[in-house]
Amino acid sequence: MNTPTGLRRVLKFRTVVSTSTGLSYAAVSLLGCIQLSYYLKGDSGWLAILISGLLAFLAALCFSELNALYPTAAAIRLYMKEAISDKFSLIMTFSYILTIVAIIAADSYIIGKAITYTLNLPDWASLVWILALLGLAMGANLRGIKIAGLLQDITTYSLLSIAIVISLIALSRNNFQLHSPFAAFSDPGNLFNAVAVGIFVFSAFEWVTPLSEEISNIKLIPRGMFVSLILLFVSYSLFTVASSNVLNVHDAGVNNSPVPQLLLGNAALGQVGIWIMLLATLLTAVMTFNGGFATASRFLYAAAREDTIPQIFSRISISHAVPYMSVVALTIFSAVIAVIVFITGKFQILILVGAVLEAIIYAVAGVCVIQLRRRKPAAERSFRIWGGWAVPVATIVIFGVLAILASIITGTSGLMTGTPLAITLLIFLISGLYVYFIVPRIRAAAATRRAVRTKRRPQ
């Protein structure tokens, strides 16, 4: 009997939105909001968030068309390979994984600091918490524990609600009297800087595209991303305005603090507010560790099976069917970055490098849309951006400029000019050298291994 094929279990639109929102809503994003408001006068940080959000909308359109062409978790590898080249696709994929690792590291650092701050512990205790949290996340992932479906929805929407309510309570302290909410327009140079940082706070909303294989209608992905961007805008802009309204974001004690969300909680509700914002911070960690580890470990597993990284990363746990070597490697890598950030205290660099990498990835998405329209004009697309090449070209130009801008700004901690640029170039250099010199050797060794294998299929 032949019957129509639809999956027994499919994800609902609610989960698509919560995945996109939850992956983007990292604890470090809240620090990004403070960083961008540092550049602007008065309570006008929301303007930078609005502009960044609208620009992210352009990128979302490009990702939607690419996802419609390749509705698979492997989409990033496929569309970059088809549009540009296999080597370029690999370099960008490795950079993507590094972005995920950096966010996991940043969040573990921030949460460690937040726990220490709330419990009034000595600073060294943060390091213990950071390593303990990463160890806990590794243990949960090794046991195949995953927060999904309804629980994930509850976590994300609780997080959004807490951030919005605390922000509104903080604003109510000054009777919602805003200081110069449009002042950003008087200083376009700094507004551009703030928008460049703002790209980071929306980053990762597009990581929802791997869910394409788990939904009934592929159009839910673009819709989910658009709704997610709106929710993120509302929450981030309220947090930014409330922070600039009740805290002095131009003071180093605030803009260089790894826990500005707790300072806002304190301003809103005192000690109770601190505990509530600690809860919100822990919720961001749940989402980051849950989604980040799962996405990145599968990327590494697939890369090992594809013979682009050593085979050891494809080892899978028989007890829990988890690619355990990938999970362990991710944890170690995240811990190293987190410890470096703990020692230097320069978390701002992760925000700026993250902004540069995301802007580059968005610009590349625009290039891929144009290239694939030229190379595969007749391919079926359930979503096609209207207006011809206008949106992808605008995406390339705008995010190209923002990538350059983010790479040369210094942030609040007085980094040496060009530090984000140097780190980004180093990342691409290492990725490039690896792809051009190491990957061919791994592939050659795999090909030799397979060549001596006897085919089992009867001829």
């Binding site: 009997m1 032949n2 027994r8 698979t72 496929l78 294989e213 099976r305 494809s314 899978i316 069917a321």
Partner: protein
């Protein structure tokens, strides 16, 4: 292009290999799924029923509502079920398409890796 009979023979061997592999059975001990396979070049369709890691049946045609749908060419299906193909590579090349949860996609590939580590 492989015939429906070719794929059924490959599936018969795949069933034996999966069910006799103790490591795989241990890993899949809580994995019960209904799978549909769609050969896009011939239009042939197949159903496989896995209960607690054991392939208890496979047949031509699609029955029931699946947990996993795998779509590729008939040749790829034959090679995959005979263990002569690395599913991940074909998946990343876009030649194999899967509708399933991300965990199940990894498990499908892991089955091949455990039975035929050199594939």
């Amino acid at each position: 292009m492989a015939t429906s009979q070719d794929i059924l023979e490959a599936l018969a061997d795949y069933q034996v290999q999966c069910n006799e592999n103790q490591r795989l059975r241990k890993m899949q001990r809580d994995w019960s799924k209904l799978l549909h396979f769609v050969a896009e070049d011939t239009g042939d369709k197949f159903t496989m029923n896995v209960v607690k890691g054991e392939i208890i049946s496979f047949e031509s045609g699609t029955n029931g509502t699946p947990d996993i749908i795998v779509t590729t060419t008939s040749e790829n299906f034959c090679d995959m079920f005979w263990g002569d193909l690395n599913p991940s590579q074909k998946y990343l090349q876009g030649e194999i398409r899967v509708k399933a949860s991300q965990e199940d996609v990894v498990r499908l590939d892991a089955i091949t890796m455990i039975i035929w580590p050199d594939a």
